[in-house]
């Protein structure tokens, strides 16, 4: 079996401008949704209490809401989670609320409601101090990843490549966040981990292409920069599709079998992988070209050698 039978290098760079415009539009859309709708942050970031219970048969939601309101939690959100038998109760932190006993009080209220008896699945309480810290730690992690990757690529290749790769991949991150904002999917710590993992992963893609670019620059002297880029992308495209396909198969398996907890984690990875392929090939490479990468940056000029001899 062989999927890719490409006779000539595909002229990707001829359409570079088109790709960049597409990217810019999706990027701006993502920013727009992030700004207007915002992320639906999980209880880990916002602070609050979350109680998940399961019932033998589907309970009525209205009496539960009323009972909670009567107990002094009018702002409790009650919703089904996964199936009609599973219930999720969310309570935001309030200044006048005694936080230590909330989960027990909610449980006893739920048990007091007529109908099926609830079984506790999990409780999560996050104090107001923790949420802010998590958000700032997340931002620090993102910053560290960006700086680390830029420095590594700049040392290994050239600053033009480092900058292009990081721009292309940050654009992926923003787009993932845009999806989460648009659909109002829950953005949890696990999703944050997925986003950062994707960042490291899709930089891979750029690295593989750049490796080829460097090699081609050294080997083939008669090609122009766009031709070199075309050649590098064409000769790695088979590997790109197969690798990402394999990773996506794994992520799909998580999406299918992983249940609610891994659902959005897998979702973030799926978007990240799809846009990762696109951006690292079709965004990073044109950027390298615009930034003016050329053969001289990789092939040592002869002059130096002569001096050394002298």
């Amino acid at each position: 079996m062989e999927f890719f039978r490409i006779k000539k290098d595909i002229p990707f760079m001829r359409h570079a401008l088109v790709f960049n415009v597409i990217s810019l539009v999706t990027f701006l859309l993502a920013v727009f949704f992030l700004a207007t709708r915002g992320l639906h942050l999980s209880v880990e970031f916002t602070g609050g209490t979350l109680v998940e219970v399961t019932y033998a048969e589907a309970p009525q939601l209205e009496p539960i809401r009323e009972a909670l309101a009567a107990q002094g939690y009018p702002d409790a959100q009650v919703q089904n989670f996964g199936s009609a038998r599973d219930l999720l109760v969310r309570l935001p932190n309030r200044d006048d609320l005694d936080t230590t006993g909330v989960s027990e009080k909610v449980m006893s209220t739920l048990k007091g409601v007529a109908g099926p008896v609830p079984e506790l699945r999990r409780v999560e309480f996050v104090g107001p101090q923790v949420g802010k810290e998590l958000a700032s730690d997340g931002a620090m992690a993102l910053l560290l990843v960006i700086v680390g990757i830029v420095v590594y690529l700049a040392l290994r290749f050239e600053w033009r490549f480092a900058v292009s790769a990081i721009i292309a991949n940050l654009h992926d991150v923003i787009i993932i966040l845009g999806f989460f904002a648009f659909f109002q999917w829950e953005f949890s710590l696990a999703v944050l981990a997925a986003v950062l993992a994707v960042l490291g992963y899709s930089v891979n893609e750029s690295v593989v292409v750049f490796d080829r670019v460097r090699e081609t620059f050294k080997k083939k002297r008669n090609l122009t920069t766009p031709q070199v880029l075309d050649h590098a992308i064409t000769s790695t495209i088979s590997r790109t599709i197969i690798t990402h396909g394999s990773t996506q198969v794994m992520v799909l398996s998580m999406l299918l079998f992983g249940g609610e907890t891994l659902h959005y984690f897998a979702m973030a990875l799926t978007i990240g992988i799809c846009f990762g392929i696109y951006s690292s090939v079709l965004v990073a490479s044109p950027l390298v070209m615009w930034l003016g990468a050329s053969r001289e940056q990789f092939v040592k000029p002869k002059k130096e050698k002569e001096e050394a001899v002298v």
């Binding site: 101090q129 990757i149 593989v208 891994l262 990875l269």
Partner: protein, 633 residues
Amino acid sequence: MNRYPLWKNLLIGLVLLWGLIYTLPNFYGEVPAVQVSSAKATLKLEPAAVTDRVAGVLKEAGIEHAGIFSDTNSVRARFASTDLQLRAKDAIERALNPNAQDPSYVVALNLLSASPAWLTSIHALPMYLGLDLRGGVHFLLQVDMPGALTKRLDATTGDLRTLMRDKSVRHAGITREGSTVVVRFRDAEQREAARRAIQGATADLQLADRDDGVEDLKLVATLTAQAQQTMRDFAIKQNISTLHNRINELGVAEPVIQQQGADRIVVQLPGVQDVAKAKDILGRTATLEVRMVDDTPGLLEQALAGNVPFGTELYNERGGSPLLVKKQVVLTGDRLTDAQPGFDGQTNEPAVHLTLDAAGARIFRDVTRESIGKRMAILLIEKGKGEVVTAPVIRSEIGGGRVQISGRMTTTEANDVALLLRAGSLAAPMEIIEERTVGPSLGAENIAKGFHSTLWGFVAIAVFMTAYYMLFGLVSSVALAANLLLLVALLSLLQATLTLPGIAAMALTLGMAIDANVLINERIREELRNGATPQAAIAAGYDRAFDTILDSNITTLIAGVALLVFGSGPVRGFAVVHCLGILTSMFSAILVSRMLINFVYGRRRKIESLAIGQVWKPGTQAGSPAAGKSGGN
């Protein structure tokens, strides 16, 4: 030509064997067990003695066990069924704790790995499952440091007042203002005198002048950075040891109590579902009391005979001998500011150094002056029951608030006593800032979900790789399996906590690790396409792909490390597995797969073709001469 030297093959073989051995315990599942640990801070568990006792009890009761294991803190006995386990628990409980009101040991139900003893003896244990996989409660407690600081400054205010009086320095009032203590004076001379007095008495205070008028001179004292740091360390250590004592009585098999960051404590109680009780126990305080021992001859015998004299109570000293203690309390733990193990200045024998605050020091001086030659008892009172931590003889009058307890003590004992004294004195207040409870059914479900995701993802990749790259794909799949094996072995060895995000990371890492083999296989095909001989193609494919693999793994690793550094909770669980997975994947994808390919092709002098699927060359119609078994489309 494509051959690894013998040592390299052996090395890879050994690593794989090691991986297999350390992965093994995960397959055995768990058996019911009973775990015995000490219930009291004053009682150290002696593993050998307790093991013998448990074995004796079980033999007497006619209950068959499947091995008794011990470590420094606990003794565990395995049983074939939960029925036996419950019977054994009752029997052991009755034998070890004759007085049910005052248990000396925690006898808890637990689950132990069913792996054979030889695996346990080389520390091959199953992976340590996090709370989201096994069920239980997790708390994050914040120690109220500003509160502790305020308390300390209030004590300092009192100390300074006493000091001024002792040194007859005239002042116009001492007050705490925010995080400083301000002493007012009417003239500069008195202020100078006060400064000298304070500097002579303590090194913990930093002094500064502030003049708010001719008649209103002030001396502003703040705690030095070092003193504040010591205070913080002390507060957190003290709270941790107090928590240890309390959690023991919950009967949790493997509690985790750890410091996190500067002022936080994580408490994890696997298997506990009763959150209300856990919270109640965490919130309680123990107290420390200093009382005099009644040494009147004959009274102790009388008390032992069941007739305790009025105004006294009978206690057991640590180590055994009974002691008659007066009911009147001389000092409470509030007056104790620190307790540290150390050595006697003259005799150089182990000692415990206590520091009392000013008021405590005064009381102590008065009491010791009157009772030279008598014994005093230091009691730890918890749940309304007291225990004598130590009962030293007073040798001389002790002033200045620095007390030393020494004699008949080993270094370990001095450490224990200091810890107990600290545990009893009032800790800085704590607040629960994070709580997570996971029911046991959810835990089991999470394991199943994580396992199925990984399994089916792996199967799909293996099938695809084999179909697409034939033999080379099969080898890649075997290398991927080796990666999983090594990753699980490493996690088992490190006993890193495995959580659901950790399992997700395992799946994701496998999905990413196949990249290395795809790169290699594609390179080999490309070399063949360019007309290289099969042997040369293999060598060039592996060599050239290596750089790319290294680069791409390093960038992924950078992201992993960032997550490890800044992540907490679920993110950290993910990052640990992710980082380890990247490392094992480098080994398996490159070395293991190369070794296997070498075994297949390396010895043959002449190879017609490689079974790497079809290699299509531009310009030819069907498969190239180098194409393998799948010559057709």
